[in-house]
């Protein structure tokens, strides 16, 4: 059954196409039944712990303003749909903004508190509870208008070979999706699951953590989150994953 699915997927994902539409498939389909069941069960899914933590962080007053996220926004459910649209272009700041960036802005400008660091527990909790509100909704980022240049840069970054191993993201996730890299089947590199719980990490991680991880594996210069290049890549990945349902908190190997 899994073989048949993989074969079907490979047929769809065969190289030679610039647009990934046909080869798009959530990493969920590589999980195997047991891990799929784990992801699907809200009581067993370890990522749901982070949704709970996020809920508490959402309600906690912070900073000189003494306000919580709830004071300004109401419940986290008011954020439904937001994560499907990120990153997006911020015309005032003339840059792309992802979920972490939005949270950091709110924290410093409105709550007047120290913004949570990338990958800190608090950041993962907040991003997970917010992304979770969009579970089941299709990813739909805007890549035209003012975002067009950043999108083009992200597309280039995905295709460009880099690092001492001289491999591109596309080498693995477009051209060799479905093949095995050591014990691990390479997925189509979709980002509809994030923030997600990865067994290899024994913990939660963001989209940017994944980008950094793959990038470091080919011994390339580190891609710092919150830089134009990393955000452009995130935008391109979100566009590649367009139409897929957001799964956060997903489980991945």
């Amino acid at each position: 059954m899994r073989r048949a699915l993989l074969l079907l997927w490979l047929l769809l994902a065969l190289p030679g196409h610039a647009e990934p539409r046909a080869g798009q498939i959530s990493g969920y389909h590589l999980l195997g039944e047991e891990l799929q069941a784990l992801q699907d069960d809200d009581f067993a899914n370890p990522g749901m712990l982070w949704v709970d933590r996020g809920q508490r962080a959402w309600d906690a007053a912070a900073g000189a303003s003494g306000t919580s996220c709830r004071d300004c926004h109401g419940g986290p459910e008011r954020m439904q749909g937001l994560a499907t649209q990120l990153p997006r272009w911020n015309s005032d700041q003339e840059r792309l903004e992802n979920l972490e960036g939005l949270i950091r802005n709110c924290r410093s400008a409105r709550q007047q508190a120290e913004p949570p660091a990338y990958e800190s527990d608090e950041m993962l909790a907040l991003t997970t509870v917010i992304a979770h509100q969009s579970r089941g909704l299709p990813l739909a980022v805007a890549v035209d208008g003012p975002a067009a240049d950043a999108f083009a840069a992200g597309r280039d970054a995905f295709a460009r070979r880099r690092g001492q191993l001289d491999l591109s993201c596309a080498d693995c996730h477009d051209r060799h999706a479905g093949a095995r890299l050591r014990g691990e089947t390479i997925s189509a590199g979709m980002i509809n699951g994030f923030p997600l719980y990865r067994l290899t990490w024994e913990g939660m991680g963001s989209r940017q953590r994944m980008i950094r991880w793959c990038n470091e594996a080919v011994r390339a210069e580190p891609l710092q989150p919150d830089t134009a290049k990393a955000l452009a890549l995130e935008l391109f990945l979100a566009w590649r994953s367009r139409g897929l349902e957001l799964e956060s908190p997903a489980i991945r190997r």
Partner: protein, 177 residues
């Protein structure tokens, strides 16, 4: 299982994203790699050794080194060096966890001569520029290489000769695991 640090660590294992190494081994390997980086290196910033390609071969051993099969097996398994098993099935432990991005090499010695193997390991993209397999003796023409690896080919001439010596003897008969 481990998480690569965001800042460039001294030695990021090749593609360890896939499976963490045993910590003790990793520490040892990291120390070794660090020690190697501290050694004065006469190597230029380009190839691991000068070489001449004729057809689909490199006839002369790189830098005149003599390869040792046993050492070659270790290079192929070593995550800091060859790590060939991420892409190829080889007669090494944990065979079912080896990758299949490249062909099964358990009988490669029956198909390819040492001179052919040498080119494929040293500069495979000379034969197929699109290939996913890196050029192990080259370092030029690369982009955005992490500082610690910049201008260093992935393997040394000795490593590659060791691999050639090992691979040329592989004939599947002894494909154990």
């Amino acid at each position: 299982m481990y998480l690569p640090q965001p800042a460039a660590s001294v030695s990021a294992p090749l593609l360890t994203c896939v499976a963490g190494g045993r910590p003790s081994l990793r520490v040892a390997a990291t120390l070794l790699a660090a020690a190697m980086l501290l050694l004065p290196s006469a190597a230029s910033t380009a190839d691991c050794a000068p070489f001449e390609i004729s057809g689909d071969r490199i006839e002369q051993p790189l830098a005149g080194k003599v390869g040792q099969a046993g050492a070659g097996a270790r290079v192929a398994a070593d995550r800091q060096r060859g790590d060939c098993v991420i892409c190829h099935r080889l007669p090494l432990p944990e065979g079912r966890f080896h990758g299949n991005l490249g062909p099964d090499l358990r009988a490669v010695g029956l198909r390819l001569s040492p001179a052919q193997l040498r080119l494929r390991v040293a500069a495979n993209r000379h034969l197929n520029p699109e290939s996913i397999m890196p050029d192990y003796c080259r370092s030029d023409g690369r982009h955005q290489v992490a500082e610690d690896y910049r201008d260093h080919p992935i393997l040394s001439a000795q490593d590659i000769e060791d691999l050639v010596a090992w691979l040329s003897g592989l004939d599947a008969a002894e494909a154990a695991p």
